[in-house]
Amino acid sequence: MINLLPREDLLDMRIERIKTYVKTGTTILLAVYLTAVLGIILWWVYLTQNQDQATRQMKEILGQLSNQGNKEALYRNLAHRVSIVDKAVSEHKLVSSRILPLLDTSVGVQITGYSWDDSPRQKLVLKASNPLLLERYIDTLKVSFKKVKLDEFRLYTAPDWTATVIVE
């Protein structure tokens, strides 16, 4: 196709086209920029309002919590006491379970003395009419206790024999 317009008119047309592109591009840039700035400002306003509102509500809640102070003190004491009691119950040592195995098999043997001082060690003073009964009892103790030591074994007053035994 043959362009019949003069050369100047062609140049003017190109310049006009460039002007349009530049103006449109500038307007789009300005619109995007203003939108971004507006967005940031609105976000800031939203954050500030949200913070102010939360702070205000928090103060109201703190006021209400102050009114519940007595109940809170009770609740805290209960929580504290629950952990104390739970610990005390779980750590409660049953001393009877230490003595029980000593008695189960004491046939013909009398335990006349016993001592324990919050340690694994227990001391027994035994009495029997026959040393064999003492021996048999001491042997049965070895089933329940890791360590059984005969401390003293003698004829006390005939016919009674006594033995002092330490078990652990």
Partner: protein
Amino acid sequence: MKKFTWLIYPIAVLFVVFSSSIFLLGSGKIVQDMLAKKSQVVTVNKLKSDLENKLNVLKNTNAEDVLNDLREILQTVPAEKQAWVLIREIRQSVDPVTGSSLTGYRTSDSASSETLALTMTITTPDIRSLLEIIKSIEQKRPLVEFSKIEFQDGLVSLGVKGVWEPLLAASFSASQPLPPLIKPVNSIVESGKRFNLPTGLDLLPLR
């Protein structure tokens, strides 16, 4: 000159955009402030939510029930030294055992001491009776710890410690979170069922 007047608009826009961008974002302070603000808002909202939960817990908690629970578990570990209660407990355990009696007691610590330690003197026919007494004491509340047992020909010297712990002083701020109940009170009471609840206070000393 008139030919270039159309350039004023794009140049002015570019100037405003770039200069304000450099002003706003150049030092990075605005961005930092924005992020700090966001973080503050998150923190405040979290705190508010925690306080709301705490308030709901307290509102749904009946003070009378808490007081009853507290009274119940104070039976197991009292808030103060109760020497007479401890002596009563021992006596209640000794008396029903045939041929046994509590003949004396003395404190093992000074009155100002943190511990409640007593040495009890008991007469009992044999070690089986002593075991019966010890089992009975172990099942009583408040809890009693044994520190020493000496038995010789019917005479017993029993070292006992009363377990106690003072109540918490009420110093806390409303913003502090509530401590968790590590176990429900019911389960604590259940686990302590083997400890019989002594009925009523009998502060009479030895007969």
